[in-house]
């Protein structure tokens, strides 16, 4: 057998393979900075981020307790608050005004079933984050509502409030790319390692 003539080479290959495997495991299965997928993943996330930072997403993924509204992301009128379950406060529940569908009247409230904010214990807050921290927040189950990357894909593909972003009703802009393109880039980001920009790339 040929390999028995070169036992050191075989050992080097095994050790090298092990180091590589160890590196992937230590990065949680993500592409390392040396991976050929890394740059592709970063490019995909930059496109994903252009959607996440649009008013349709950011107006509800807020840092405080008051949602924003409109393309200018002004603080929601009427002193609306997140409340204990993300669905508002007594006598000011989100669905008191927001119905299962968009109002057809100018300046009327947008709507989808179970209109709400993220709950206070899983805020998924993106407001004010740079692209690096936005990426890390999205990827971290402790900050993304306990979702794996597979569950994140399902969320952006199927969630009714996410899909509403592309059907926001009169007077509201849509994100910069289509929902199909958003989902495709999101999947590409995940499948290429869910890489996030490094500190130097804020």
């Amino acid at each position: 057998m040929g390999w028995t003539k070169y036992p050191c080479r075989v050992a080097i290959v095994i050790v090298a393979s092990g180091l590589g495997f160890s590196s992937i495991c230590n990065s949680g299965g993500r592409a390392s900075a040396q991976s050929p997928d890394h740059e592709r993943s970063l490019r995909a996330f930059s496109i994903v981020a252009s959607v996440l930072t649009s008013p349709r997403c950011m107006n509800c993924h807020i840092a405080g307790d008051s949602p924003l509204q409109g393309d200018s992301s002004l603080v929601h009128t009427m002193n609306v608050k997140r409340g204990p379950d993300g669905r508002g406060t007594p006598a000011m529940r989100c669905t008191n005004c927001h119905q299962d569908e968009n109002s057809q009247q100018p300046h009327g409230p947008p709507g989808r079933p179970d209109w709400r904010l993220p709950p206070p214990d899983k805020r998924m807050a993106w407001q004010g984050l740079n692209i690096r921290d936005l990426c890390r927040t999205l990827r971290d189950p402790a900050m993304n509502g306990g979702r794996s990357t597979a569950q994140l894909i399902e969320h952006v593909r199927q969630d009714r409030l996410v899909n509403w972003g592309w059907d926001p009703g009169l007077g509201r802009s849509v994100p910069p790319i289509s929902h199909d393109a958003f989902v495709a880039h999101f999947i590409e980001w995940v499948q290429s390692g869910a890489a996030c920009p490094e500190d130097s790339q804020k």
Partner: protein, 159 residues
């Protein structure tokens, strides 16, 4: 758009009512035009002022935004159904504090207060502000409204 009417059953102020209307009719117009319950007011028509507030299954909804189809089979309480003898704590407090000036927004203010007190028997000023900030009063009776909410809470707790 073609209007199609259908018979829809609601429970309004404890009574079962059947209305023949387009299921996309706002609840406000069903209450006012079909059931002649005109205590609920039309203010802005876009859910911005609170004048049309009624109770739908315990929530203080804006009836100008709620379609009849959402209200089908549900329990609805309007200002006329809060009590039949003005004995509801919020009605009592509103009389004692002489809250209204023009009065147009007051049925919405009273309904929203009743919903607040159903879940919070002793609200703070901040909690009152949170609950009632969606009910606009152009006369600016907010100071009397807040006083009346505290008084209504006292009356409710004493019963």
């Amino acid at each position: 758009m073609i209007e199609t009417t259908a018979k829809t059953t609601l429970t309004v102020n404890g009574k079962q009512r059947v209305v023949d209307a387009d299921p996309r009719t706002p609840l406000l117009w069903v209450l006012r035009d079909h059931l002649d319950l005109t205590g609920t007011k039309y203010g802005c028509g876009i859910g911005q002022c609170g004048a049309c507030t009624v109770i739908l299954e315990g929530d203080a909804v804006r009836s100008c935004q709620v379609l009849l189809s959402r209200a089908a089979g549900k329990q609805i309480t309007t200002i006329e159904g809060l009590s039949n003898d003005r004995s509801h704590p919020v009605q009592q407090a509103w009389l004692m504090e002489q809250v209204p000036q023009c009065g147009y927004c007051q049925s919405g203010q009273i309904i929203a207060t009743a919903v607040l007190l159903s879940s919070n028997r002793n609200p703070s000023d901040a909690e009152i502000d949170d609950a009632l900030s969606g009910n606009i009063c152009r006369c600016g009776t907010y100071h009397r409204i807040r006083r009346a909410v505290h008084r209504a809470a006292e009356i409710a707790r004493s019963r």
